[in-house]
Each structure stands twice: as structure tokens, then as C-alpha cells.
Amino acid sequence: MADDRIQEIRDEVGAWLDAHWDVRRSLGEWRELLVEEGWAAPAWPKAYFGRDYNEAEAAAVAAVFYEKGAIGAAQQGPGRLASHTLLVHGTDAQKRRYLRPILTGEHAWCQLFSEPGSGSDLAGLTTKAERVGDKWVINGQKVWNTSAHHARYGILVARTDWDVPKHQGISYFVIDMHQPGVEVRPLRQMNGHASFNEVFFSDAEVPAQDLVGSEGEGWTIAGTTLSVERQGFSQSRDGGRARNLEGPIYDEYRQELAIALEPYTWYPQREGRVDLLFERAVANGAIDDPHVRQELAKAIGLKRAAQLAAEAAAAKRRAGQRVVPEGSVGKLAASVIARQANHVHTLISGPQALLAGPDSELGGIVAEVLLSTPAISIAGGTDEIQKNIISERVLGFPKEPRFDTGPFRDVPRNVSQTGKQEG
């Protein structure tokens, strides 16, 4: 039964693509067509540009697109977070207004959650949203905002009530980034890249109708966004196929991708590039050093074991068995691996590790590894947070004692240099 249905879908989308896919179209024109027909997001509701397909059905559509080399909807990361969140929590008007340009790629989005004063403790945010007439007035600062300098809109969490416990006083907004009260600055990292932004709000405005969900419901809604983020973007990529094909529309597509992926170019280095270690050691003779061999084996072994553990967890999940939340374990493993890889790259380089830039080892890749791995144990939830999660949710140990359960106004915040509270 199910297989018949899948084949039916495959046939339908195949026939449609045969009739419509044309590499000489413009990307925008093509995507408008996709949206009209529901192929841009077949798993979305029919009411909102989709076809109400289930996961397997949507996957069948994607497979046929892949086979035919056809380009799908725009895949900008923050846009994906925004659209999924709006689909669940947005008003009809919000969905009608914002979803379509996300799918077509007309609008890039950004995520405005983290703040300098609230890193691991996201709910400790202090950006204010005050209701003035039919608008919300926003003041404060956000940070780690990928692509904010390209974004037309942002999804924003801000504090609307300071007299309730911290999770209860937060609201969720869509904000227009093209307005005077919004300033976006690039945020440079220690490895020289500036893949994030800081965003400053000075009396920026949000119309009342752009509150998402109810006032004070922001933490719950942010949870939806974060759970989409945790699922990752791997399924939504095109597997590299369309990137390598010839034709005008592909050129346009590659340009779009280049902009969208630019912030992520150093991410492989952040993971330590274990893949390069053995070849490098063989190439420069470090492989003959018994100590290098030991440390190399540790790096390669950890990486391999982590892959195997992830595969084992996936297989168990498929088999319907209970699985340790291996997301956290895997993330911890990634930190251990990256640190060890940094160490081994250093040993292999020897004094050559003194150099950086295009003339240095592997055109600067190794230097970038040495300066990027410290991020892996911080970004996307620090190791410390992962260890809390593992020890509490997996091992069942008691939670940390809380000191922030009262009205947020009274919760201690950063101590400034002069001993006063910040924020």
C-alpha cells in the first residue's frame, strides 16, 4: 500500500519535473512555480504552500528532484528555523506573509536569541520589548547571529515582563531588520573569521501583529526553534549534486549557496580535520615518531569509535529500542576528538606550526585547525551543558540547585568591574 503511494508520488513529481524543469529559467521564477504547485515544501500544509505529505512522501519527492538534478526550495538555515516555528506558532497572517519568500529565497532570515550576558543560560536574556500603543519597542543586544547582515527579517526573543520567573517573561517576535533602530556589526573570531554578527537594538520597532504566539509564551516557542536547530540541516542539503551541474540556473544557485554557506567554511577545521592526519604524518615523516603514532592512533580511534557509536544509536532507534540521548554524548565526543586532533596536527607540524596563512601547512588549513578547535566545545551548547544533560537525563542524577526561580528582576546578573550588577 505505502509503496504504491510512494511510487504514485514519484511518478507525479517526475512527470511534473519532466514538463517544467528547465535550466534556462531564473532561480526566482522556478521557485515561484515550485511554491505554486506545492513542491517547494511538500510536507507543509496545503493551506501554506505544501501538500500535507508525510516524511516518507516528502523524501520521495526530494529523491526525484535529486535524480533529475532539479533545484528545490531555498535552504537558508535561519529561514528554515523561522518557517518551522511560524508553521507551528504563527498566525494565519504571519504564515501567509513570511513563508513564501523564505521558500523562494527572496528573504534571508536571522536568529536573534543569544546575548552577551546569557550564553548557556539563554533564558537569562535582558533585551527588552516594551508595548507602546500598537507597537513593541525593542532595546538591547544580541550576539552570534549568523547571516544577520544579509537578513531581511529576524526571529527575536525579548523580555516583556520582569516581575515573573525568567522563563515566563519572554516573548517571541518577528522583526524587520531593515529599520533605523537595528544595527548589525560583524563579530570577528580568534581564528580571523567573522561568521557571526552582533545586533544592537535602539528603540527598534515591531508592529503588534508580529508578536508570535502570546505575550510571555516566548520560551516555549523558542523551544520549537531550538529543537529544529538540533535536528540539524543535513537532510535539507542537496548532497552536492546540483552544485556540480552545468546550466544558468545552477550558476545562480551556486551564488546563493556561496553566500548562505560562507559562515560555515571553517566548521570542518573546528572539528579538527582528523581526516588529514594520517596522510600528513606519512607525507612529512612524522609517522616514524613513536609518540606521534600513539597520539595519531588515539585521534583516529576516537573518531572512528564516535562514528560507530552514532551508527549504533541510529540503528537502535530504527529498531525501536531505547537509546541514550547520543546527541549529547556525540557532541562531547566531538570536543574530545577535536582537541586531540589539534594536538596531533601540532605534533606533526612541529615548528611549522609557528606559521599561518596561505604559505603555511596545507595552505593555512592546519593553522586554522589550531585556532578553531576551541569553538567546538562551546558552540551549540557547551560541554558543561552537555555534561549536565547527560548526568541528569541519562544517568538520573539530581539537577543543579537553582538560584534563579524568583521574579527575574531579582535574579543576580553579571557582576561588573565595580562590583555592581550589569544588565
Binding site: Q294, K298, G301, L308, A312, S391, F397, P401
Partner: protein, 365 residues
């Protein structure tokens, strides 16, 4: 990969059997005994549950299972510190016969091992590196053996010895009747009394060579290390579980100690080590069963299992405080097994070196 339904059932049977028969009380009784194992439990293990032939072909009276199921058996044994000649006979000696024996020799030896009626021991004069085996035991032109091995697992209860000895052409394997004059077996005083070692002295004893070729020590070592890694993962996971339980019960300063963040995070680190060791160990079994995967899989398994077991054993004591250092508390039983297994069949650094050597071979080929 997840276990199949059959494998899961098999694991449940093994876990129930050893959980029932190899309680800490029983382990302590056997540690203090002369022979170090219980003959009746061995009989049940062999006849009622049939585990002694887990991985031996049905033609020789085994279950016909493979390395994965053998791993399951060993993991359950390791969890409960089973004391008995299983590892010596069914793992070490039986694999040697399987790998190198002629059909006639397999037919002569394996059914007894599978049935548990014959206990075999594998005599290796070096337990640290297969390349060093055969320095101390020689076969003369008539195939008679002389020499000694200091550390032979369960030789004191074996009726059959499989001996690695240097012959004229190569290091080969020989079968030796342990009851003949010229064979002298002396029980050793062991750091880990749950697995006994004995000294074996051979003085011009008669022997029959297994097959015609050289001993396939490389394959044998992989098989033994993979089984041992399962034992170690089993021991480590059990010790980790009891430690976590203890930390939920023990109160200091008005809090269960499992609420102290430094200890919580340490346990998260240990869980990570254990998960990685477990994944690598199960992969080694799959590699042996299918031939697909990295040739270094057994080395990675032994290295990670050993390191994880040692980490967990140390912390199992530390997290129990003074109580963890007492004889009365069971923790030291696993600690001793962890320490003994660490140096048995190659230390972690030997296995890491071997990993790289194998990668070089693959890279060069």
C-alpha cells in the same frame, strides 16, 4: 548495528545465567578456592546453556554462532566476573584449533571443548605481542617440545594444552596431552584471582602439530582480543552502573553525592568513554564475523575497552571513598580484573602502535 532479536534473546539468557550463578559472594568463594572455578556451574554452562560452544561450528557440537554471539557471552561473563576456564578453553584454545587444526584434529578436539568435558589451555610464552611468541618453547626435529611459559590462563585445570612453539620452519601450534610426564603445571599467585594463571614447564614432551603451516597468531590474537574487549566492556558497564547507583544513595553534607556537579560531570566523561569502547568492541566482533571494516578494529576495541575499564575502575573506588578501598566492598574485584586485563594480550599503547602499523600496510597496498 543493533542486535537482532535472536541475539538479544541470547544476550538475555547469558545475562540471566551469569547474574544468577556468578554473584559477588560466589566470586569471592571461588577467588579463595584452589582451582578457582565451580565444576557444577561449568557443567551447567556447557550442558544446560551450551555456551562453551557458542561460536564453534555445529559439526563440532557448537551453536554455530559467530564472533558477535561470542562477544555477547563474554560481555555477560565480564559483567559478572565469571570465574572459570571459558576464556582459556573456548576462546583461546578453541580458536587456535579452529584456525590451524586439520579437519581430523578439529574433530578430535573441538567437540570436547564445546561440551566442556575437555578443558584446553593455550600455552603462549609471551602475552604482550604475538611477534614475541615462540622464544622460550622449541619443537625438536621429532616434534617433541621443551621450554616454559610463565603465564598460561587456567593451565592448572586443563587436560589439553595447545602450545605455540618454535619449529624448524616457523612458530607453529601443537597439541599436548597435559597428563603426560614432562608436563609440569604450577599455579601462580595472581593479582586478579578471578582468572588464574599457571606456569607450564615442558620437558621433552610428545606433541602433535596442528596442521602443517605456521601458527596464525595474528588472526588468533585478533579473536582473543575481541573476546577480551567484550569481557572488559561488560565489566566496565557493570561497575559504572553500580557506581552511579551508589552515588544516588550516598549522602554527604545533606545531599546525595550524585548531586555534586564535579562528580556528575566526571560520570558523564566516563559514560562517553564507555560508549566509545562499547561501539568499537561490537565493531570488532562484526569485523571478525564479516571481514568488512578496518583491520585495526580488534586493536581499537582492546585499547578503548582497556582504557575505559581502568578509568571506571579507578573512579569506582574514588567515588565510593574509603569504603571503595575495603575488601568488603566488591569494587576491587572488578578493579583487579581491569588491571589484569590491561596487560593481558597487549597494552593499549601496543594496540595503538599496531593500529598505525596496520594503517600503513593498508596505505602501502
Amino acid at each position: 548495528m543493533a542486535f537482532s532479536e535472536d541475539q538479544q534473546q541470547f544476550a538475555d539468557v547469558a545475562e540471566r545465567f551469569f547474574g544468577d550463578k556468578s554473584t559477588p559472594t560466589e566470586v569471592r568463594r571461588l577467588m579463595a578456592s584452589d582451582v578457582g572455578y565451580d565444576a557444577e556451574v561449568w557443567r551447567q554452562l556447557a550442558h544446560e546453556v551450551g555456551l562453551t560452544g557458542t561460536h564453534l561450528p555445529e559439526a563440532y557440537g557448537g551453536f554455530g554462532f559467530g564472533a558477535v554471539e561470542l562477544g555477547i557471552t563474554c560481555q555477560a561473563m565480564g559483567r559478572h566476573l565469571y570465574c572459570g576456564p571459558f576464556f582459556a578453553s573456548s576462546v583461546m584454545a578453541a580458536h587456535a584449533v579452529l584456525n590451524n587444526g586439520s579437519e581430523a584434529q578439529r574433530e578430535a578436539l573441538l567437540p570436547g571443548i564445546a561440551a566442556g568435558t575437555s578443558i584446553a589451555a593455550l600455552v603462549l610464552d609471551d602475552l604482550s605481542d604475538p611477534a614475541r611468541v615462540g622464544m622460550s618453547i622449541q619443537a625438536d626435529a621429532n616434534g617433541r617440545l621443551s621450554g616454559a611459559a610463565q603465564l598460561v590462563a587456567d593451565a592448572h585445570v586443563a587436560d589439553l594444552l595447545i602450545v605455540a612453539a618454535r619449529a624448524a620452519d616457523a612458530v607453529a601450534l601443537f597439541m599436548v596431552d597435559a597428563a603426560q610426564p614432562g608436563v609440569k603445571v604450577t599455579a601462580q599467585n595472581c593479582l586478579d584471582p578471578t582468572r588464574r594463571m599457571a606456569r607450564v614447564q615442558l620437558d621433552d614432551v610428545s606433541a602433535e602439530r596442528l596442521g602443517n603451516g605456521p601458527a596464525d597468531l595474528s588472526l588468533l590474537w585478533d579473536q582473543m582480543c575481541t573476546a577480551l574487549a567484550h569481557e572488559m566492556v561488560g565489566g566496565a558497564e557493570r561497575l559504572f552502573e553500580t557506581t552511579v547507583e551508589y552515588m544516588k544513595m550516598r549522602v554527604q553534607f545533606g545531599r546525595v553525592i550524585g548531586s555534586f556537579q564535579a562528580l556528575k560531570h566526571r560520570c558523564a566523561d566516563l559514560l562517553l568513554e564507555l560508549e566509545l569502547a562499547r561501539a568499537a568492541t561490537h565493531e570488532a566482533a562484526r569485523y571478525l564475523a564479516t571481514g568488512a571494516g578496518d583491520a585495526f578494529a580488534p586493536n581499537l576495541a582492546k585499547a578503548l575497552a582497556s582504557d575505559a575499564y581502568i578509568s571506571i575502575a579507578k573512579q569506582a573506588i574514588q567515588l565510593r571513598g574509603g569504603i571503595g578501598f575495603t575488601w568488603e566492598e566488591d569494587t576491587h574485584l572488578w578493579y583487579k580484573r581491569a588491571k589484569a586485563s590491561e596487560v593481558f594480550l597487549g597494552t593499549s599503547n601496543w594496540h595503538r602502535e599496531e593500529m598505525i602499523r596496520r594503517m600503513e600496510v593498508a596505505h602501502g597496498g
